[in-house]
């Protein structure tokens, strides 16, 4: 079944108020074109989740589309902090449920495997847990190990409405490959009610059948496939392109103040009609060619 649509069509399938799991990790495979289109379509009141907060979440929060974030902390690595997320937390304009990477992914695992809850050693003795017990009391509980009687922390399964995942290779059904580490992306997809795949390269299903051990997203879980080159820009896509260090620096500087962020959004999100115009604004093919990954290094 051919599920290939435009980014705009895929984004339009997401109602305001949805819970969206995003595939980014700091400055890599972040759903940047998706986030920009969400802002342009005026979708609001989203819950966003990911194990490690990335630039996609920061852009969405900076554009005012998010009311709740579930994440394990995050940054733009050495480029800076997630300034919009941090500011929103400090001002109390979003609710932040903060986890550790494993406790987030274990919630996805429980959601993926149909487990009623999952036990974990992490969080105990920490203020992260105290915080969760206040902000998300329905997400954590205690359970006795029926074999030893020992008391364990239990986490509630997480089932986002939609996972949005940047991949390197997908077919029109949504069967997809991810090169490099996959962090929480497989579990996000399995836990979510449906998935939107945004792919750098669209291939016939015949290609998928030639190396099926690589297929980490099953087509039947996917509702929309978007074929959109450089859709994670300015973040990196391993083996396809490197992060755009200059643009991330420009963003990190802008995001430090609400005014700077507004100017960034006006120029790079609202100032363009779509992702193609954004790429031209960056400098088009000439600029993007500089980012192409070295085939041996992968960056």
């Amino acid at each position: 079944m051919d599920k290939v649509v435009t980014l705009s069509e895929a984004v339009a399938s997401i109602p305001s108020g949805s819970h969206v799991a995003l595939s980014g990790f700091a400055i890599t495979r972040a759903t940047m074109a998706f986030a920009a289109e969400v802002l342009r379509q005026g979708i609001r009141n989203l819950t966003v989740s990911q194990c490690v907060g990335a630039m996609d979440a920061d852009l969405l929060v900076g554009g005012g589309a998010v009311s709740r974030i579930l994440y394990g902390g995050g940054s733009l690595d050495r480029f800076g902090r997630l300034a919009c997320v941090n500011r929103a937390i400090e001002e109390g304009s979003i609710v932040a449920e903060e986890y550790s990477s494993l406790s987030m992914v274990f919630r996805y695992v429980a959601g993926a495997l149909g487990l009623p809850f999952i036990t974990i050693r992490s969080l105990r003795g920490s203020d992260v847990l105290k915080h969760l017990e206040e902000k998300a009391p329905s997400a954590v509980a205690y359970v006795d190990d029926p074999f030893t009687g020992e008391k364990w922390l239990a986490l509630r399964p997480l089932n986002p409405d939609v996972a949005v995942v940047q991949v390197q290779v997908a077919d029109p059904e949504g069967n997809a490959w991810i090169y490099g580490p996959r962090w929480d992306n497989e579990e996000q997809v399995k836990a979510s009610k449906r998935t939107i795949v945004i792919t750098e390269q669209l291939v016939p299903t015949e290609v998928i059948r030639r190396d099926p051990e690589r297929t980490v997203i099953h087509g039947f879980r996917v509702s929309h496939v978007v074929h959109l080159p450089f859709s994670a820009h300015p973040t990196a896509v391993y083996r396809v392109y490197d992060y755009d260090a200059d643009h991330i620096r420009l963003y990190a500087e802008a995001a430090k103040t609400p005014e700077g962020m507004r100017a960034y959004l006006d120029k790079y999100v609202y100032g363009v009609k779509d992702h193609w115009e954004y790429l031209e604004l960056l400098g088009g093919v000439r600029h993007l060619t500089k980012l192409a990954a070295d085939p041996i290094l992968g960056y």
Binding site: A54, G73, G125, S126, V128, P181
Partner: protein, 256 residues
């Protein structure tokens, strides 16, 4: 004594960290100096160390310095590229990690680490990075090594937010929370600390060459246990410094 070797404080920290690792151990590493220390150990006395990054990376051999764990530079020539569940679930929570190697905004007298926020969590605060895998690593590793700069605002009696538990408020509190292991060392640019077996309070183990006891204690936010005799930290060898400068961090991003 041989020729005097020149080194930066960060190089000394990396070397001191490397010395803590035994051959064959499995090490969960956060970014920055812990990476430099672990790669140094692997290239010297501990070639069979397994290096694990939480996002799904085992034993990379980078040739360029990355900006963070998410940077593909850091994954170059890995043996495994997989997932959080594989690394933090199967390896770490499964009980296989010998050493967790962490940095942070603040640590305290009981080795608790804060990477989340500064200020009053219920009032005015500044939010920073949060946990990532740090809480998980601090909770499930057999032991933890902390690397942090020696400043009064970073070495406090109690951190403002426990992101990653050390011995919590000391004594048996960590064990009572159901957690194994705990911090074994805190390495700063002035000294190396351990923890008292009973009270679990930070204990001065050695002072770096060129520093005095007053330097160490005068720039901390709390008073650690100080034994009667405190030796000097063994300085880096010329070969260790060469490997850091030429092979591991040629751009001097972490250890310069």
């Amino acid at each position: 004594m041989g020729t005097e070797v020149e080194y930066t404080p960060f190089e000394l920290m990396a070397v001191a960290g490397a010395r803590e690792l035994k051959n064959g151990e499995i090490v969960a590493v956060g970014l920055g100096l812990p990476v430099v220390a672990t790669f140094l150990a692997k290239r010297t006395h501990a070639p069979d160390i397994t290096i694990m990054f939480e996002l799904g990376v085992i034993d990379p051999e980078p040739i360029h310095t990355g900006v963070g764990l998410a940077d593909p530079r850091v994954w170059y020539r890995s043996k495994v590229l997989s997932t959080f569940v594989d690394m933090l679930g199967g390896v770490l929570h499964g009980g296989r990690v010998d050493v967790g190697f962490l940095g942070g905004l603040e640590t305290d007298a009981y080795g608790n680490l804060n990477t989340t926020l500064l200020g009053d969590p219920k009032g005015k605060f500044r939010h920073f990075v949060g946990s990532g895998g740090a809480n998980d690593i601090a909770s499930s590793s057999k032991r933890t090594i902390i690397i942090i700069r020696h400043e009064e605002r970073k070495l406090k009696e109690a951190v403002s937010f426990i992101t990653s538990p050390g011995y919590i408020r000391g004594g048996q509190e960590r064990a009572q929370a159901g957690l194994p292991g705990g911090p074994s060392r805190v390495i700063t640019d002035k000294a190396i600390f351990g923890f008292d077996p009973e009270s679990k309070r930070m204990t001065l183990l050695s002072i770096h060459p060129g520093c005095t006891l007053e330097d160490v204690l005068g720039t901390m936010g709390f008073k650690p246990i100080v034994p009667e005799h405190v030796p000097f930290t063994e300085p880096p060898t010329a070969e260790q410094v060469r490997i850091i400068r030429e092979e591991i961090d040629p751009e001097g991003i972490y250890s310069g």
